[in-house]
């Protein structure tokens, strides 16, 4: 007999967030690429330029959001992929912890970089 899944854990929130962040990322990622490769060429990037952009509050906020959403989206995506492969029990718990810690580190470090550039 199949087990009846009793412990109710909804996946709808993360599923929805994955889509919402994706929709947001479409815009920001395109913008990001366009700005740093076509408007400014990557090989011309200098600290001063980066600093100038980052000091704009709107840009700063966008980049932080970009960082957070991309981290969530990417890490949640990886987690989903693992669950799709059927990981379970301990392995699943481990994946949650490792991915969780990694994303916190990533976001913290990212914010520090942004702050450094913006000079906060």
């Amino acid at each position: 007999m199949a087990e009846r899944y009793s412990s109710f854990s909804s996946g709808s929130t993360t599923w929805l967030l994955q889509r919402v962040t994706a929709a947001f990322l479409v815009v920001v990622l395109a913008f990001h690429f366009f700005l740093l490769h076509f408007v400014h060429h990557a090989y011309e990037i200098e600290f001063l330029g980066s600093q100038a952009r980052m000091q704009d509050l709107g840009y700063y906020v966008t980049m932080i959001l970009f960082l957070v959403t991309a981290t969530f989206h990417g890490v949640n995506g990886v987690y989903n992929a693992l669950v799709n492969q059927g990981i379970d029990g301990k392995a699943k718990r481990a994946a949650q912890i490792v991915l969780g810690v990694a994303s916190i580190l990533l976001v913290v470090q990212g914010v520090r970089v942004a702050n450094a550039l913006a000079g906060f």
């Binding site: 007999m1 899944y5 854990s9 996946g11 929805l16 799709n84 492969q85 059927g86 379970d88």
Partner: protein, 293 residues
């Protein structure tokens, strides 16, 4: 399908009056002639068993009990090619003529019992619904992937049945009309909406084709989700059961596992738009959950 006699002019005017001249008729006549010729030829040349066109059938063999078959292998059978021959016909021929131990499930021969889903030339198909003429030769027939093989083409279906039952595949209305002979009302639109989902014949082709179901044993799978859809969308369904069912399909190994690979939809012999139904339930789950906030 292969022989379309270009006959457009005569057809338009004499469609109903003269069915005798339809392309089908001509095709059958041609077939019959061909068959007669082939039979005559067969008798003439006894030495080679089949004179007409033949095809090679490569069939997966395995039997845990029989020496020499414990190791999976492929056997080749030469089968005379006949018009309108299906993969199932070819298998039956091979079994009855060469090796009566060749084992596969089949029953209805008309795509309703769902017994004979095989992996034919790399795709999940019903043997009885697949014309040999549409396939490249040699035709390779294997048991459904991602399921334990019991013997030859027979796979273990219990897991599939379990998943179907997990979706609570039964009707549970809140209340029924008074009076013994009163039916519940259902609009035509609503019946139309659930129509395709009610066609499932439990063949398991979809489940076997899904990479996610292959990796995640707990994934309900497209057929079970479609079953849930069939009841969830039925306007006669009771509110209580509808909620319960939603909870079943939206738990971790429910609809969210679907990565919209569409292979289930591609292989379903009953043309059920499985991916669409799964997606609709995902949205439904999100909507319902947003409501609770």
């Amino acid at each position: 399908m292969s022989t379309q006699t270009p006959e457009t002019e005569t057809e338009t005017e004499s469609e109903t009056e003269q069915p005798a001249s339809s392309p089908h008729q001509e095709r059958r006549l041609a077939e019959k002639r061909e068959r007669a010729e082939r039979e005559a030829a067969e008798e003439a040349a006894d030495a080679t068993k089949f004179d007409g066109e033949t095809l090679e059938l490569k069939v997966f063999r395995y039997d845990p009990e029989i020496e020499g078959k414990e190791e999976p292998r492929f056997d080749s059978f030469t089968v005379p090619k006949e018009q309108g021959m299906t993969v199932l016909d070819a298998l039956i021929f091979a079994r009855d003529e060469y090796d009566s131990s060749l084992t596969f499930r089949h029953s209805c021969r008309q795509a309703v019992c769902g017994s004979d889903a095989f992996f034919v030339n790399g795709q999940q198909r019903l043997g009885c619904q697949t014309q040999i003429s549409e396939l490249d030769t040699p035709v390779r027939v294997e048991p459904l992937p991602h399921q334990d093989v019991v013997k030859d083409l027979v796979v273990e279906m219990d897991h599939f049945y379990d998943q179907m039952e997990t979706a609570q595949p039964f009707f549970d209305p809140d209340d029924l009309p008074e009076g013994e002979l009163e039916e519940q009302r259902q609009s035509r639109e609503n019946r139309e909406k659930i129509k395709l989902s009610t066609r499932c014949i439990w063949c398991g082709a979809c489940m076997s084709s899904c990479n996610i179901a292959a990796g995640d044993n707990k994934y309900l799978g497209p057929a079970a989700i479609n079953k849930a859809y069939r009841f969830y969308m039925d306007e006669r369904e009771g509110e209580q059961k509808r909620q319960e069912r939603l909870e079943i399909i939206e738990q971790e190994h429910g609809v969210w596992r679907c990565q919209t690979q569409f292979s289930c939809t591609n292989v379903c012999p009953k043309d059920i738009p499985l991916t669409e139904h799964i997606q609709e339930l995902k949205r439904e789950a999100v909507k319902q959950n947003l409501k609770f906030w």
